[in-house]
Amino acid sequence: MANEDLKYTESHEWARQEGDVVTVGLSDYAVEQLGDIVFLELPSVGDQVTKGAPFGAIESVKAAADIYAPVSGEVAEVNEALPDEPELFKTDCFGQAWLIKIKPSDPAQWDSLMDTAAYAEHVRGQ
């Protein structure tokens, strides 16, 4: 599995550490649960996000949900193209469908996230 380096939240966001930024996306489980995504609201570069607090919103044909930050910090980059191409969630949720990149304010928060095995266990319990 190519996602061994990922960490996860209980609310089904994934996080990937690349240099000094953390990239955030939605897990395949979240995407499957939501169904076809039709609307996405993301923050702007420079916004502050807080671990465990919503930074954006997502809407599918079934439901609307908040998206939660896995770590606190400043938004360094936003996937501006994604709201116009929501079908990317279906085809590449761990790659092209990344949401934002965060410059973490507290690097220790990384360790509080679930690894792939723990997340798989978490999903089984849902």
């Binding site: 649960q33 076809d36 039709v38 609307f39 044909v61 079934k62 439901a63 949900a65 929501p86 849902q126």
Partner: protein, 482 residues
């Protein structure tokens, strides 16, 4: 099916008026005159009649089919109240007549209806006063929360937070946010009602109030209401009762007796007026005595001589929340409904609504997963998680029901249940109809095992087949005729 504009033939008319022998006046200010002809469809009368009759035959409504749409209380609406609402003395009344001195002579009957339904709703809910202005349930929520805010402003309370359980109605967080409060979401416990331990941790002196839907969206009555009320009242917060599910307890229990301070009623649900397709609804709001001064203006009053009038002199009122006195036609229909049923009739409403629901739940529990077992109130929620393993989702079950002659239940709500199917039969259905629905649901559960693809193809008996909701939502195609 063609739109009426696509059927238009240039120059065709239903009727042609005789040539006028009066010269056309042209004294309308040029800036107000239209430059182009209005683009209206051009058809013969019979084609127009057939077009709209054809559309009405495509309708899927309470008057044609069983409509167990959870959370919406789609009960049958008696035609007698429709007829009375159509009386010209009500229907043709100008809404400003009530503003004549002392209520005006022509609007006395209408004002009396508003005055008396206020008294009836007080009796039903245990509140001290009502406003009939709010035009829908969510509008009532906003009115109620603005009243809550006015109370805290008057007392110089510093309040910023509003508590909302995750099993509440979807509009509750929206109403609280529009009113300017920061929302605190409290999760449910394993029994499907608000987690008391988690609630205790969130209550502090910043809490303005709590909005409770009871029974909640799982159809469960909260057994800890007294404790929750004490907790919120302990920090001078107010308890808001979302009456959307009042059909489960009407005539049996009163929110005012339980400790609630503000209540809205969905007249279009519990009190049997037509709704769906966006309205019209009515969401009157009732409050306890200390909040009465904040209700919207005007209030209908009874003058000393027995006539009815409007009281605008209420300096602490939150103001006007809607034009005139609300959706008067809806209020009038509910007034007739309440009078027809009386106290004993209203009690039987909730008894039968709850009985019908538990009957369905018992009959279907072997075929669909029940997230919370045990008795429920007016609606029950199944999960299609068992069918999902066979590739059949809640949406496929919903579409399969249409082919079997039933309106689908609410699907994918509440969000706390995966693949939710939320069924609310109401009290107005016969045992035969409910049995036929149960049979259809069992047939679908069996079809999910033997022929799931046939459910993916549903509906096939309707004018249009399965809608592509994703494309419809992603690629909005809205045309405006110039």
């Amino acid at each position: 099916m063609k739109l009426i504009y696509e059927k238009s033939i240039p120059g065709r008319r239903g009727m042609r008026p005789a040539q006028s022998d009066v010269p056309a006046g042209n004294n309308i200010n040029p800036e107000w005159r239209r430059e182009k002809e209005a683009k209206l469809p051009e058809l013969g009368e019979v084609d127009v009649v057939r077009h709209f009759t054809g559309l009405s035959k495509g309708n899927f409504g309470v008057d044609t089919y069983f409509y167990p749409l959870g959370s919406c209380t789609m009960k049958y609406n008696p035609k007698s109240s429709e007829r009375i609402a159509g009386f010209s003395g009500f229907a043709d009344l100008h809404p400003l007549l009530g503003d004549m001195p002392k209520g005006g002579a022509l609007s006395q009957g209408a004002l009396q209806v508003l005055y008396e339904i206020d008294l009836m709703m007080r009796e039903i809910t245990g509140m001290a006063a009502f406003t009939t202005q709010p035009l829908a349930g969510a509008h009532g929520e906003l009115t109620g929360i603005l009243t809550m805010a006015a109370y805290h402003r008057e007392k110089k309370n510093q309040k910023s937070k509003l508590i909302i359980p995750d099993s509440s109605h979807g509009t509750n967080p929206a109403s609280g946010a529009v009113a300017g409060y920061e929302l605190v979401l409290v999760p449910s416990d394993e029994n499907g009602v608000i987690d008391l331990g988690a609630l205790k941790k969130t209550v502090d002196d910043q809490v303005a109030g709590l909005m409770l839907t009871c029974p909640n969206t799982l159809g469960l009555f909260n057994p800890h209401i007294k404790e929750i009320c004490d907790l919120i009242h302990g920090v001078d917060g107010l308890m808001y009762y979302d009456g959307a599910n009042m059909n489960a307890i009407v005539g049996k229990a009163r929110p005012g007796d339980m400790g609630f301070d503000i209540v809205h009623l969905n007249l279009h649900k519990t009190f049997a007026t037509p709704h769906g397709g966006g309205g019209p609804g009515a969401g009157p709001v009732g409050v306890i005595e200390k909040l009465e001064q904040f209700l919207p203006v005007p209030i209908v009053v009874r003058n000393n001589d027995g006539s009815y009038g409007l009281d605008y002199h209420r300096p602490k009122s939150i103001g006007k929340i809607a034009p005139f006195y609300g959706n008067f036609g809806v209020i009038l229909k509910s007034y007739v409904y309440i009078l027809m049923l009386g106290k004993e009739g209203l009690e039987r409403v909730s008894e039968n609504a709850v009985l019908n629901t538990n009957y369905i739940k018992e009959k279907l529990k072997d075929y669909y997963d029940l997230p919370v077992p045990g008795l429920c109130k007016h609606e029950c929620v199944f999960s299609a998680s068992r069918q999902m393993k066979l590739g059949v989702h809640a949406i496929d079950i919903a579409k399969g029901l249409i082919d079997r002659g039933f309106h689908p239940p609410t699907v994918y709500f509440p969000l706390t249940v995966r693949e939710a199917l939320m069924i609310e039969p109401t009290e107005t259905e016969s045992k035969e109809t409910i049995d036929a629905f149960i049979e259809a649901m069992i047939d679908i559960a069996k079809t999910a095992q033997t022929d799931p693809d046939s459910l993916h193809a549903s509906p096939t008996t309707t004018i249009v087949g399965r809608m592509d909701e994703t494309t419809a939502a992603r690629n909005l195609n809205i045309a405006c005729l110039d």
